[in-house]
């Protein structure tokens, strides 16, 4: 890993179009600004990992999910009818 020392107000540039600026250092917290093209999505690392884990899990579970839906009787082949919504769809959280 490349390690650089920067002061508040200083930046590093990654590639041609990503700039990371140290905005403020206060105690054990560092505020960081990121300028990147719109095609580059910027996440906190732990949030990115959680999304990635969720997606990998969803892909791994795709067959099981289809099987579970078939068991629930929701796996008929696609047709052309479009009922507005299943009559027995229940809200998750209780109404407030």
């Amino acid at each position: 890993m490349l390690i650089l020392t920067r002061k508040p107000g200083e930046s590093i540039v990654i590639g041609n179009n990503v700039t990371v600026t140290i905005v403020e250092v206060r105690g054990d917290q560092v505020r960081v600004g990121v300028e990147a093209p719109r095609s580059v999505q910027v996440h906190r690392e732990e949030v990115f990992q959680e999304l990635a884990r969720g997606n990998v899990e969803a892909v791994a579970a795709a067959q099981r999910a289809r099987g579970a839906l078939r068991k629930r009787g929701a796996g008929a082949p696609p047709g052309r009818s479009r009922p507005p919504r299943p009559p027995d769809a229940k809200p998750g959280p209780p109404p407030s």
Binding site: S39, V59, A65, G67, A68, A76
Partner: protein
């Protein structure tokens, strides 16, 4: 200007609208940029979200409001800007569905919904920071 709260299933995914582009890829699968959304069930409740580049990359998805009517994701200004979403009617929202090891319980990812601009067909997976939506919300049974 659209209201920041997406509180209604404004657009349901459908199977004949063609390909969706995810310019950033999705976390965990950054190389996949083009996806198809096909109906999985007759009642249009569940779809298969499948990569064009890698057909093995597919997941079951659903429109969250069918099961969680109180779901009210608030998109960041940044996500709205990047997606070019100016009207709430243009937003197509769907969430991945996973199963536990036994295949008995199903869960919906409400933390990181996929949001697509139905006009441009471009989307991204957003993350709803500080809104307390779970990554594994049990799918109500009896559906």
């Amino acid at each position: 200007m659209m209201s920041p709260a997406l509180d209604a299933p404004a657009h349901e995914p459908d199977d004949d609208a063609g390909m969706l582009e995810f310019p950033d890829g999705i976390p965990g699968f950054s190389q996949a940029h083009h996806f198809l959304l096909r109906d999985l069930t007759d009642d249009h409740v569940f779809q298969v979200f499948q990569s064009v580049e890698d057909p093995d990359l597919s997941m079951v998805v659903s429109v969250p409001w069918l099961f969680f009517p109180d779901y009210a994701p608030i998109l960041s200004d940044e996500d709205q800007r990047v997606l070019g979403l100016e009207r709430v009617e243009d937003a197509m929202v769907f969430c991945s569905v996973t199963a536990d090891d036994t295949g008995e319980e199903l869960y919906v990812n409400l933390l990181g919904p996929f949001v697509v601009n139905a006009q441009s067909r471009q989307g991204r997976q957003v993350v709803l920071l500080d809104q307390n939506w779970p990554v594994r919300a049990p799918l109500p049974s009896g559906t």
